[in-house]
């Protein structure tokens, strides 16, 4: 059986939680053949993972590319369907089906949507209905830039597969949906974070889009998620809170389940090797989303109280050289050079064996594997309250902090240091819970079962 994994801005070009999850899934399901359909922001990206032998194909499309048309078709019918889609005439799935019936792979509407009267009238009409008070040219450019991305995805042809498994909504989900409608094969959706929420956060933070254009982009991403939820044959989330948020946007409860992250319990259940002093570590890439600067600030506060404390930032430093440089300068300016180190890529087990606390200061997470790894290795955790972190930390406010709150994080670290027997008990309980609920063998078995359940009647293989 062939599974097409549809990915946007992650595996195999970007390292991180999602990519590690995907890589693990492929490696641990060798009986399935996988083909990758990746959607990238630019060309010639470097592969960050060695593709396993059961990956037999890889199609990469660049979202900002404008491939030439390889096909024409009935323009009137196409724009009628496009107009119907925008006017929300009928069920969203039916509207998308009608549109994709006319819009075959190889047909890109970049020029056609503007040069044909029907397409142009659609834009003018939408502007007059939705944003008549704004400069028309602004609306045009916003419409064009958003729709060009959609046209690129809808014009691309997904490889042949028995199941299309998107690892996010957004453009990967859209591509999976298009493949489902065109081929009749199942569309499975797995979400780590919530794509539309993450995009909304980014859009609200940036100065590049403002006013109604910001709202337009947020609505676009919302609608991509909405249509994926409505049309996917099955949806998995990492934790219950996200699953409920998917319901809010129309995901049918009866077609969704939680399949949490998992780790290799056997690998991370290690012997502790106590080391003199007090050791606080953060396992993660040195990138803004991990908010290493807050970790550094927290380190200053802890070091003031515990002079013998040592701090480790364990993870690659080459992904954002500018940010890494800022962090180094911050370490210097806070006079932490003697006790703070950037280790770059390391075998995390070497550090889990002696760390007294694992700190996670991310501004955005889904269900971070590092917390599960730390629990399995017997390391207590202090973290920011993002994603599923609160649930993983049993909603214990002593060890949870708002994002960017270095003082609260420092309090949590000190509470662990001073916690004594209670902390030891918590550590054991966390380890037991991780072993029971977050074993990756269980995770992979559930996906194995899922793929077999949705295997098409005429599909072959595993």
């Amino acid at each position: 059986m062939k599974i097409c994994l549809l990915l946007e801005g992650s595996y195999p070009y970007i390292t991180g939680g999602v990519s590690a999850w995907v890589h693990d899934l492929i490696l641990n399901l060798p009986e399935f053949e996988f083909v990758l359909f990746t959607i990238s922001p630019g060309r010639d990206q470097v592969l960050r993972y060695e593709l396993p032998p059961n990956v037999t194909g890889h199609t990469d499309i660049v979202l900002t590319d404008h491939p030439a048309n390889r096909r024409t078709g009935n323009t009137k019918a196409l724009f009628k369907a496009l107009d119907g889609y925008h006017r929300r005439d009928g069920d969203i799935g039916e509207r998308m089906t009608a549109l994709l019936r006319e819009l075959k792979p190889g047909r890109y509407l970049y020029e056609e949507a503007l040069s044909q009267d029907e397409g142009w009238n659609l834009i003018v009409d939408a502007n007059q209905r939705k944003n008549p008070a704004y400069p028309f040219a602004d609306y045009y450019w916003a419409w064009k830039s958003s729709h060009d991305l959609i046209f690129t995805v809808l014009g691309a042809e997904a490889p042949e597969a028995d199941i299309f498994h998107a690892v996010s909504t957004g453009f990967a989900g859209l591509a999976a949906l298009a493949a489902q409608i065109r081929t009749g094969k199942p569309f499975l959706l797995t979400e780590h974070g919530l794509y539309h929420k993450e995009r909304e956060m980014e859009i609200r933070k940036t100065n590049l889009v403002k006013g109604y254009q910001r709202d337009m982009w947020i609505r676009l991403y919302d609608s991509l998620s909405r249509i994926c939820y409505r049309r996917a044959d099955w949806i998995t989330a990492l934790f219950e809170e996200n699953r409920r948020k998917q319901w809010e946007l129309g995901a049918p409860a009866e077609k969704s389940e939680v399949i949490p992250n998992g780790i290799d319990i056997r690998r991370f259940k290690i012997e502790r090797q106590e080391r003199e002093g007090f050791h606080v570590g953060l396992v993660g890439r040195v990138v803004p989303i991990k908010d290493i600067k807050t970790f550094i600030a927290m380190a200053r506060l802890v070091a003031d109280r515990i002079p013998e404390a040592r701090f480790y930032c364990i993870g690659p430093t080459d992904e954002d050289p500018g940010y890494y440089n800022d962090c180094r300068l911050l370490v210097q300016s806070l006079k932490l050079e003697e006790c703070f180190s950037f280790t770059d890529r390391q075998n995390v087990l070497d550090y889990y064996s002696f760390l007294d606390v694992l700190c996670l200061t991310s501004v955005r997470e889904a269900q971070p594997l590092v917390i599960l790894e730390a629990y399995c290795a017997g390391v207590p955790v202090v973290a920011t309250r993002v994603g599923n972190v609160a649930e993983l930390l049993n909603f214990d406010d002593r060890f949870l902090a708002p994002p960017r709150d270095a003082a609260k994080l420092a309090e949590g670290v000190l509470a662990i240091r001073d916690g004594g027997g209670e902390i030891a008990g918590l550590v054991e309980a966390n380890r037991a819970r991780t072993e029971e609920f977050y074993d990756k063998e269980e995770l992979h078995q559930r996906y194995r079962d899922l793929y077999r359940r949705f295997k098409p009647a005429t599909g072959g293989g595993a």
Binding site: E111, L114, N127, P135, F136, A137
Partner: protein, 453 residues
Amino acid sequence: MAGIGFELKKLAGRGGLGAYLQVALSGAVIVAGPWLISILALFLINRLAPQSLREEFELFIAFTVYTYALSLSLTGGFQYLMTRIMSDRMYEKRDDAALGLLLKSLPLMLLFSLATGLPLYAVMSRGLAWRAAVTAAGVALYSVLNALWLVLLFSSVLRWFGRILAVFALGLAVSLVLVLLAGDSGGLLAALSGFAAGHGLILGLLLFLLRLHTRPDLSVRFGAALRAGFRQYGMLAAVGALYSAGLWADKAVFWFLRGDVIAPSGLRLYSGYDAAVYLANLVMIPGLIYFTVETETGFYVELRKFLGALLHSRYPELQRRKFFLSRRLRQGIAEQSLLQGLLCAILILNARPLLARLAPAAVPGTLALCLAGAFILLLFMTLLYAHFYLELYGAAFRGALFFFLLNMGGAFLPLPAGVSYLIGLGTGALYLAVSLRRVLRSLERYFLLKASR
């Protein structure tokens, strides 16, 4: 050219007969300077020439007419290209760079003139006494004229209308004096040489005035600018070449199919038609001035307003500005057509006495056709320039192609002279009108699509 239109408009705004006269004269010189000079000169020479020149007068006319035909047809494309290249620099307030490019183009133009002129004039002077000298004089006139067209493009920047008028007047006077004095003993050779010298004086004085206005930047890389210009405006050059050649295509065919040989050379002229054409073209001048001062400037102003609205305005405002642009163009065309139509009508009604005095070889019917052609030519030119402003070079090329092919092809048919010219212009104008109408209807889409590419 819109720049000169605005300047003339400012001048007219001062009011008074003097200002209007100056606008009329300056406008005439700017839009048709060398052409006017030649026609006036030929007219005066015909009236005042000594006997020896009279015997070779038709030959002199033939050489002059052929020189204009060759000059405009062969360099038309390059002129349009240089106009655009220099206009871009002037728009950037780099008059010095524009002048530098102009000066650096002159040697290239000279080389081209020699390369094309020497064989052509050698053929034209076959059978004539002092053949080599006549060839040289012809090539000199041809070369000066080729350079003069380019220099005139830039002269519109000068705004020294009085000085430009004076330069042309002086050039005409010198041409006349030299031709009349030397022609007495030297006949055709002297007349051609005198004519070339007069035009050469105009060229030299204009270059002097340009130098007074701006110090040229000679560090500009002409080759690179020309290559870049061809890449960006190659189609514009093609339009210029076709249009210029189209204006002469039927005449050239008639010379060889219907014309009379001007002995002892092999040159031919079709006097009846040629005279009518030149008269009709003179009559076009008021319409051309009106186009320059009113129609073109009005269109330019409204186009700028539309483009400004495109950046900042809501959709209804865009439609309003588009309406004003179309209306301004329609108004300009209507008014200049009215002016031109009136002039043509007056001339048609008085054709016989006029022709008797000015062009005895022409017949009223032919004059009527030529005047109708001049009327349509003004419309065609207006529509063509509108296409240039909107950078619709592809459609402009097709319009010019229709004109050229129908005019030239029709000239081979047994139709009255002037009919193929009228049909070619009419078809070209119709095509351009339809093309322009289509684009103007969705002008915002046109510009946004262009920007998207």
